[in-house]
């Protein structure tokens, strides 16, 4: 670590990482959607991959990235457009994190439980 920043810096780092992760997924998604041009055979084969347990983990990661990027995006807009935004950027960051956990933990549970059940043979 070259610099010990505080909430603002970590929010920015996480925002960048989440943004790049989502962008990479968009590339993959454009590619898989384009497969329909070669007929249902290849498209279905690729989409079937998405339903596997490994991909479900990837999807949970994707959901986390999207959720954080969206919530922190709102924080940045508040900072940009409202004069008082810069004064409350730290509370806003903790608000983002709290909202993130409130939405993500149940979401991840819902996404993960069918996979766990099927792996346990249920």
């Amino acid at each position: 670590m070259v610099y010990r920043g505080s909430e603002g810096m970590w929010a920015w780092v996480a925002h960048r990482c989440a943004g790049v992760a989502v962008l990479l997924f968009v590339f993959v998604h454009v590619a898989d959607t384009a497969l329909i041009g070669w007929g249902p055979k290849y498209y279905n084969l690729f989409v079937k991959l998405y339903s596997g347990p490994a991909f479900r983990l990837f999807e949970i990661f994707l959901a986390a990235a999207l959720l954080f990027h969206a919530l922190n995006g709102v924080r940045i807009m508040i900072i940009d457009f409202w004069e008082g935004g810069t004064d409350i950027q730290k509370p806003l960051f903790y608000g983002v994190m709290a909202l993130f956990l409130v939405v993500f933990i149940p979401g991840a549970y819902i996404m993960l439980s069918p996979i766990v059940r099927s792996m346990l043979g249920g």
């Binding site: 670590m1 070259v2 610099y3 010990r4 920043g5 505080s6 909430e7 603002g8 810096m9 920015w12 940045i76 900072i79 940009d80 457009f81 004069e83 935004g85 810069t86 004064d87 950027q89």
Partner: protein, 232 residues
Amino acid sequence: MLVKLKILRFDPDNDKAPHFQNYEADVEPTDRVLDALNAVRWYQDGSLAYRSSCAHGICGSDAMRINRTNRLACKTLIRQVAPNITLEPIRGFPVKRDLIVDLTGFFEQYRNVMPYLVNEDPMPTVERFQSPEDRAKYDDTTKCILCASCTTSCPIFWANTDYIGPAAIVSAHRFIFDSRDQAGGERLDILNSREGAWRCRTIFNCTDACPRDIKVTKAIQDVKRAIMSQKL
């Protein structure tokens, strides 16, 4: 108390790359980091190089990374950072030697924003009056001492040293929002350029680093909004 100092040293004549060197200094908890540096330089190793002029937080010459955060060595107490103190030069500008960096680029950025009063009206015979409300608009940004702590704490600046940087925007803010000044629009045009205020990603390292407690990010946001609305 005994403190351990880990100082990033670089001698351009003899070193290929910067390296850490360890020292110990016996100082009081109420001493400043600058006193520990002086204890090393005066009694242990005269080759250690760092800047310090007023030593009272006014001249802004001893900005450095203290335990990975930009601080003034003359304003940081030993008890705030003891017992292990890591000292490195501020990031982004070329290191001349040890803790001294070449600030030529920093002052170029500063000069680019016309950091002086522009008023083409005939010189009045009395002072140019200003209401307390108008004065308050730029009160915060008058406090800048040009220590470069903010600019060199900015990750955007590390990646792109052409970015005009927080310090220059703060200096511009001081005159843009001064009711007696007439070049606000010109300064906003300068800051609306590719390497201007829009490079700021509201990371807030600058605000945390400022030894004068200037709300640097707030000033930058004021400038961005002024560019958008074209209203001062």
